[in-house]
Structures are given as structure tokens and as C-alpha cells.
């Protein structure tokens, strides 16, 4: 019994350590992305045609990090929140697409 417990604890410890590592890596990446985004705009080194999509892509990746790592959507038992979030994203995309197509196009 005693040994089982220590085994479990060491397993848990190992997992927590890896989880912490992942959190730190994503955190650093997100800060990096933010710095890059600011740098692109501040220095004006990139043409608008290229800068805007790049900024959007980096924003999407950051949202992904936020959802999957910081809000634990990658873990088990988050099927329902995922469904709701993707439902919301779907409703929002639909709305924006329709507005763009009808109002401004």
C-alpha cells in the first residue's frame, strides 16, 4: 500500500512537472508572439498586405494556446466547454461572414 502511494505520487509529480514545463513554454511563446507583433507594427518593416494576415494568424495561435493550455481544453472532461466554444466561434464567424458579404462587399 505504502509503495503504491509513493508510486502514484511520483507519477503525479512527474505529470505536474511536465504540465508546468508546457505552461512555461506556451507562456514564453505567447510573450514572444506579442513582442513580434508589436515590433512588426512599430518598426513598419513589413508591408501592410503581409503584416495584417500575419498578425491575424499569430492572434489565432495565441487564442489556441489560451484555450488549450491555460484553460485546459486539451485535458479530458472538457468536451462540453469545447463544444460550446466552437459553437460560439461558429456563430461569430457566420455573423461576420454574412455582414462582410452583405454590408461591405
Amino acid at each position: 500500500m505504502m509503495t503504491d502511494n509513493t508510486n502514484f505520487n511520483s507519477f503525479q509529480k512527474q505529470r505536474n512537472k511536465e504540465e508546468m514545463k508546457r505552461q512555461l513554454i506556451t507562456f514564453v511563446l505567447m510573450i514572444g508572439f506579442t513582442i513580434v507583433a508589436f515590433a512588426i507594427v512599430a518598426t513598419g518593416s513589413m508591408q501592410k498586405m503581409f503584416a495584417v494576415p500575419l498578425l491575424l494568424i499569430m492572434a489565432v495561435v495565441q487564442v489556441g494556446f489560451q484555450f488549450y493550455y491555460f484553460m485546459h481544453m486539451k485535458d479530458k472532461g472538457h468536451e462540453f466547454p469545447s463544444l460550446m466554444i466552437y459553437g460560439g466561434v461558429w456563430a461569430a464567424i457566420l455573423t461576420i461572414a454574412a455582414l462582410v458579404a452583405i454590408v461591405w462587399w
Partner: protein
Amino acid sequence: MSTATAQKRGFGAVLWDYLTTVDHKKIAHLYLFGGGFFFILGGLEALLIRIQLIKPENDFLSAGLYNEMITMHGTTMIFLAAMPLLLALMNAIMPLQIGARDVAFPFLNALGFWLFMLGGLLLNLSWIMGDAPDSGWTAYTPLATESPGHGLDYYVLGLQISGAGTLMGGINFLATIVTMRAPGMTYMRMPLFTWTTFVTSTLILFAFPALTVGLFLLMFDRMFDSAFFDVTLGGNSIIWQHLFWIFGHPEVYILILPVFGIFSEVFATFSKKRLFGYTAMVFATMLIAFLGFMVWAHHMFTVGLGPVANSIFAVATMAIAVPTGIKIFNWLATMWGGNITVSTAMLYALGFIPSFTIGGMTGVMLASSVADYQYHDSYFVVAHFHYVIVGGTVFGILAGLHYWWPKMFGRVLNETLGKITFWLFFFGFHLTFFIQHFLGLMGMPRRYWVFLKDQDLDLGNLISSLGALLMGVGGILFLINIIYTAAKGEKASADPFDGRTLEWAVSSPPPYYNFKQLPLVRGLDSLWIEKREGNGKLKPAEPLGDVHMPNGSILPFIMSVGFTIAGVGFIYQPDNRTWLLAVFIGMGIALGSMLIRSLKDDHGYYISKEELEKEAD
């Protein structure tokens, strides 16, 4: 803390109890009284409208007052009457149906109610202050941005505050249903009313933000000289229509889906049969909700979106008739071969099917974008949406109230009075609105305060107004029934209608902790299963133990008062900057209350096992 012993309490104690309550059953009472109050208000406005239109060129109401009347009738009925009355039933019944002791966030539940109530009162304060909103319940720009006076400011702030309350309610119900179902209550064992509450809450969650955004833009345009909707400064007034209907179309499903749930319970109970096609009903509900987000532009066919957009939205709209049709046939099949009892609740359900089907049929007619050019802004539209909202939502609320009144108040509503009310209301309703289809087809436009004589509109309008009076009599009779029942009604047993679902397993009204032990659910219609295969009692899923309960709090009320004071400040600050003081004071009160709530730990209290053992079953 226990108030189990029945004793007379003073008025002050009762008032304080309701001001501070976080119990879902008492919040349901509050929603019922609040929504009922606004329903009477909206009903009186409807009667004034019909008196004005009783004869040609009537001068009962002036043109401006008439505009305010139709605007406030629509806004009040949708936001402040129909939705809160549905939230009342959801609050009262849904936690019981899933075997929970309360909703997930009791404090938030109370806050949601008080925001709705004070937002609604703020909106109606405009009557007393002398200019009510007058741009129609849809508040189309530029009419709404150009409307003089403060009427539209009341509309914006009142709806913003009450809308925040509704959004909280929706999120709360979602969290409750996802996390607090009793052991064994899988998703596909949930009663249909719980399912529709769940799907409706999803709609609230996704639809209300569009209204919030729209209202903020309108507020900035009116108060802070922005130009989101001002064409002369590069804005676009059509965006308001889009935002409003992106919210507004899901909103009409927010009104109808819960009553689909109510009728499903009523049909199953009073036919003594399992609901026909349960799985199809669940998926039809989801499909309606899903499609509901892709059809908003059918309110805007005549705006000039072009034939492609119009066709897409027309086809999407017609597609909704399919899941709705599935539901209608499933209800008919539930009754088929059943042992039917025609109680008052069942009468409303029976009256609902033909009434709502007519409304659905005119809906498909309106969905045809080509024909819509003819119907648009005529009384045909007015007839259509009253057939679905009164014939659907109001019948559903009345059915739900008759069905669940014993569970909410411990007494059964008088059946004789109830049946007389139904027939008066049913005939009054069809008399009022059926003829309006033809008035519309003959060319009578909606929202006009007079019509000329000898254009074949006289008789139709007279009939319509007489029908409205009949509905008014029906409404008064319902109030008499409530008072009569409160005074002399028979005490209800736990299960007066031989019910099938969990809420009938606890006493009427339920004890404040709902379930002594959380029940074990063995299938769909869990109580019915125990009646057939067990001893008629639900098996407990846990040993008797301490029950954790939340403490009451006055903070939700104070917070809402703060936001309302800030709202009044926002409305009048363009006139005089000293009104900003009200904004600061109000926001100070609201944010201060939030701070107290965040910093002060409140872990609730426990009802001890011994205390529970003492109480009778």
C-alpha cells in the same frame, strides 16, 4: 437557519426574505410576480392600442402617444413579460427535474433577477418622466438615433441592464445542467423541459451579446456623438438592423423553445404515455436552435440585400419548418392511443397545436422572399407573430403555470375557473388576430395610429378590438383564479397529476433543500419507472448526510440598484454634466458591492443530518 415550521411572519420579514433570497424556488416566485406585473402593463398597452383602432380616424390616442404605446407594448411583452415568465418556470422546475438542490450559482441567479426587474422598471420610468421610447420595439436607425427626447435612451439603458440579467440566467442554467444532474441522469434521460431550458440558455448565451453590442453602439451614437449608424458621417444604418436581428431571431426561439418543453411534459403526463419520439424531439430542438442563427436576414428582405442573399435566407428559413413539423407530429403521436385527461393545462396544449400551426404556416408564407414584398410591414406580419407568440409562448406559459402551480405554491389552481379562462382567452385570441391576416392582405400597414373609413377595414378592426377585450377578460379571470386559489384552493399533494418526472417526487412546495438525499435516476421519466417497477419512491443515491446550502445576500439587490442609478445618470448627462454624479455614485455602489462580494468569503452553511432526520418526508 431552518424555517421549516410553518408560522406567520410579518410583512417586513417576508420582504427581507425575498430581497435577500438565493433560493431558486423563491427567485422563481420573484420572476413570476415581476414578469406578471409587466405582462399586465403590456396587456393594458395592447388594450389602449386596440381601443384606438376600434373605429376609423379615432382620436383616443394622439399619433405620438400611439407610437410610444406600440413600442412599449412590444418591448415590454418580449423582454419584460414573456422571457421572465419563462425564466420563472425554468427556475422553479429545472433544478427539481435534474435532481439538484439549487442552480450552480445561486448568488448570480438573484443578481440576474434584480438586474432584470430594475432594468424593466427603469425602462418604464420613461412613462413617468414624460417621454417613452417611440421607434418601435426594433428601434431601427436612423429613426432611433434621431428620436428627440430621452425615450430611446431609456430603451437603451433599460434593455442593457435587464439584458445583462438574462445573460446571467442563461449561463447559470447551462452550468447547472452540465454539472449538477443527479446520479444516473444522463443527457438522454433529461426531461424535455430541461432539454429545452438547456438549448434556450445556449441561445441566450450566443444571441444576447449581439444585442449588447448594438445597444452600446446606439448609446454612443445618441449620447457621445459617435457615428456608427450615421450615413452622412460614413456610418451605416443597416448595421443596426443586422445586429438587432442577429439577436432578435434567436430571441424568438428563446421564447418558443421552452414552451415546446412545457407542452411535451403536459402531453406526456395527461396522455399517460411516454413522449413519442423523445430522441427526435431532442435533436429537433437542437436543429431549430442551430438554424435559428442563420435566418436573421428574413426580417430584412425588403432592405435590398439582393436576390442571392434573399434566396439563401428564404431557404434556410423554410428549413426550420421541418424540425418544427417533427415536433407537432410527435405531440399528436404522444396523444394517439393515450389515456387522455383534458385538464386546463392540457386544454392550453390542445389549443396550442392548431394556433401555432397557423402561425408556422404564415411563417413559411413570409419566408418566401418574393411574396414578402407584399406582406412586409402589413397587419399580416402582426397576425403572424401574435399567432406564434400568443398561440405558442403565452399558451405555453399558461399551461406551465396551471401544470406547475401546485409545485410552486402548494395549491392546485381551480380547474373550472381555469377552463372558462381558457375558452375566453382562446376565442378572444383568434377573434383578435385571425382577422388581422386579412386586414394585412387588404393593405392595412402596421404601426399606423389611424385608418380611413370605407376602405373595408372598419369591420375587421372592430372585430379585432372586441377580441382583445375578450382576452382582457380572460386575463382578469386568471388573476381571480390565482387569488381564489391562494385563499381557498385545495392543498396539493406531492403528485397531483400523476406525473412522470423528478419534480413530482418531492412535496408541493418542495422543502428549501429540495432533496434530502439526491435521487438515483434509472431512466427517462424516472418517477414513472419507480411507480411501475418500484414502490413509487425514488431510490436515494447517497446516504443521509449534511447538506451544504448557500447564505442569502442583499448584495445582488444593492448591485442592481447601483447600476440603475448609473443608468439614470447616463440618460440625463447629455443635458447637464452634473448628472455624471449619478453615474459615479451608481457605479461606485455597484463596483463596491462587487468588491465586498469578492473579498468577503461566504462558504454557506450546513443543514445537519440530525435536523434533516427530524423533518417529515
